[in-house]
């Protein structure tokens, strides 16, 4: 329970996460991309239902998403194209980020931070919505004075996806 980072850094990290989530919900995708390092790794692993008690999942070599800067850029460019069937009209998303835990600060310019993520996604004109729940394990790095997301592992809590797709950025 020791303070691993000072209050100033702590607040900066929290504000970084809030800002980044806001950009996604406001559809400021290009600016969101600027919050990532060029060598960013973005993974959403599959968690399978194992038998052994104590093992709530077996992470095999699969993923829901396995992205880098180029592939995220590709997805975002697509979101701006006319005729992007999956997102026209676009989803409305709300990223609820809570339980922020800054877990390491060995290098003053690199911070490991975990958070819980609940995403509400609404689309079209029904009364249906999707919820995505999981834990984010991020690495945030200071690049030229600005914090950037260098790595994100999102552990979704579902084994079978309760959504018709992942056409949004989680």
């Amino acid at each position: 329970m020791a303070h691993t980072v000072n209050d100033h850094t702590h607040r900066q990290v929290v504000e970084f996460l809030m800002h980044e989530a806001e950009l996604l919900d406001d559809r400021g995708f290009e600016e969101w991309l600027e919050q990532l390092t060029e060598d960013v790794v973005y993974q959403v692993p599959i968690r399978d239902t194992g038998k052994k008690n104590g093992d709530s999942e077996i992470l095999r070599d699969g993923a829901w998403l396995s992205e880098n800067w180029k592939s995220l850029d590709m997805r975002i460019r697509r979101l701006r194209m006319p005729g992007v069937v999956a997102e026209d009209p676009p989803s409305r998303t709300r990223h609820f980020v809570s339980n922020i835990r800054i877990v390491a600060g060995g290098n003053p310019d690199t911070v490991e931070v975990k958070s819980n993520l609940l995403v509400y996604r609404y689309r079209g004109e029904s009364v249906h919505y999707d919820l995505f729940s999981g834990e984010r394990r991020d690495i945030i790095r200071r690049v030229n004075g600005a914090w950037k997301l260098a790595r994100r592992d999102l552990w979704l809590d579902q084994a079978v996806l309760a959504s018709q797709d992942i056409s949004i950025i989680l």
Binding site: I58, W64, S126, Y129, L161, D165
Partner: protein, 443 residues
């Protein structure tokens, strides 16, 4: 949550009239929303025919098992201690509890958590606590787990059926085998799955994705207009060529590629070992297909779809060849669970495999830029089919009916439809004709 959507309709279907319409290139919308038709499909098609359940490489060792679903019947695909692969219904014979709640694993026995009946990994009932209480009248061999009547595989693709009177898998696949060989015999070492299958549930009748995979090449430049602009689809020379190949038993293959003489095998980026082995293992005609198809897909009626293609993992990157399998699990008239696998030849490099998996994920996995668009149109069509007026409409599946040639020079079996416009729905007509035959024939 409530859904602000109409409900499924319950009209008594007139199968003969549907048959006539299909012959005329027309398809009643209600086949996607009628509850009675859905129940007929389960009873007369799904539980009587061969269903895909998985790939051999998913259960490599004795005791390995994976949980699967055959038309929403929960089953276990198990390699027994005798190294034989079986499909066991995951229902305890005593009082019906689910025998195994794990998605996969390796086990000697399955022990039921209700009263402790114990089955070995061949499904045999080997332990009944308090068996004396039955006074000798309980023969364990009559209370083993129910097995699929037949389990057979074709080059590693495992199918099972609940129908002991079904034809053999080879007969069921028929002409399709020639094409499956192309996808499964390229390497001496065979295919392997990458990661576990993706599973997700989409709000559509199962036939909408199935009929798209069987032959709907026409939707590509429209539904996928944005994804096609991203620079991950390989660019080849040669005059474009598209075909619908209608095969026995309602199966179908489509090819998007080039005319003969402009080889495109290179787009798959195979290592030398595969390039060499496919020359040994495939017939010349089969090699020609690989050399003409940048992508080749199909559907084996009812529940297995596939797509074999070359795709880049990033814009501008080189493309790699992989095989994607799709299993359609009908949950209800308007809900389908998809199971999706990515497979590559075992003797490709780790780098090739990673590239292939990423190409699959970003293109055709549940987060894939192509996949996302398809779900929208499938669910759209499934939803309109419930409308009190729309459900009585006839859809049009006559594309190419009056303007396509049979390409008799094509090396493979089946009816090879092609035309200059490259717009075809030949396979859809064959798919629906056969689908209906199952529903009628089963009466």
């Amino acid at each position: 949550m409530n859904k602000a959507e109409p409900q499924a309709c319950n009209l008594e279907p007139n199968l003969e009239e549907i048959a006539k319409n299909i012959d005329a290139g027309l398809l009643p919308s209600e086949v996607f929303s009628n509850q009675a038709i859905f129940e007929l499909e389960l009873d007369r098609l799904f539980i009587r025919t061969w269903l895909f359940v998985g790939h051999e490489s998913e259960v490599p060792k004795p005791g390995d098992y994976v949980a699967r679903s055959m038309a929403s019947e929960s089953v276990l695909l198990v390699r027994g201690h005798d190294d034989k692969i079986r499909v066991l219904i995951n229902t305890c014979r005593h009082r019906g509890n689910i025998v195994c709640r794990s998605g996969q694993g390796n086990t000697k026995n399955f022990e039921c958590s209700y009263h402790g009946w114990c089955y070995d990994n061949t499904g045999a009932l080997i332990g009944v606590p308090g068996i004396e209480a039955y006074g000798g009248k309980l023969s364990p061999d009559q209370w083993s787990l129910i097995q699929a009547a037949k389990v057979e595989h074709y080059n590693g693709l495992i199918f099972a059926t609940f129908n002991a009177d079904s034809p053999s898998l080879e007969d069921f696949l028929g002409e399709t085998k020639w094409y499956l060989d192309i996808l499964t015999k390229r390497s001496d070492e065979g295919l392997q799955t990458l990661g576990p299958p993706h599973r997700w549930v989409i709000p559509t009748n199962w036939k909408l994705p199935a009929d798209q995979f069987v032959g709907d090449t026409a939707h590509f430049p429209f539904t996928h207009i944005s994804a096609l602009k991203l620079g991950t689809w390989p660019i080849t020379d040669g005059p474009p060529w598209v075909a619908n190949i209608s095969l026995e038993n309602g199966h179908g293959i489509w090819i998007r590629g080039v005319e003969a003489g402009h080889p495109v095998l290179w787009v798959r980026g195979y290592p030398d070992s595969v390039t060499a082995s496919l020359k040994r293992n495939l017939l010349p005609g089969q090699q020609e297909v690989l050399n003409r198809a940048t992508s080749l897909g199909g559907n084996i009626l009812p529940n297995l779809a596939f797509m074999d293609l070359a795709f880049a993992d990033e814009p501008g990157a080189s493309s790699v060849g992989y095989l994607s399998l799709r299993l359609w699990n009908p949950i209800s008239v308007d809900q389908t669970e998809i199971w999706s696998w990515c497979l590559v030849e075992k003797d490709t490099s780790q780098e090739f495999k990673e590239k292939a998996y990423k190409a699959y994920l970003r293109g055709f996995g549940p987060s894939g830029v192509f996949e996302q668009d398809d779900v929208v149109v499938w669910s759209g069509a499934s939803q309109t089919a419930k409308g009190p007026v729309s459900r009585k409409l006839l859809q049009n599946i006559s594309m190419g009916m009056n303007n396509s040639e049979l390409d008799t020079s094509f090396p493979g079996p089946g009816k090879v439809y092609t035309n200059k416009t490259r717009f075809l729905e030949s396979n859809l007509r064959s798919f629906y004709r056969n689908w209906l035959q199952n529903l009628i024939g089963g009466q």
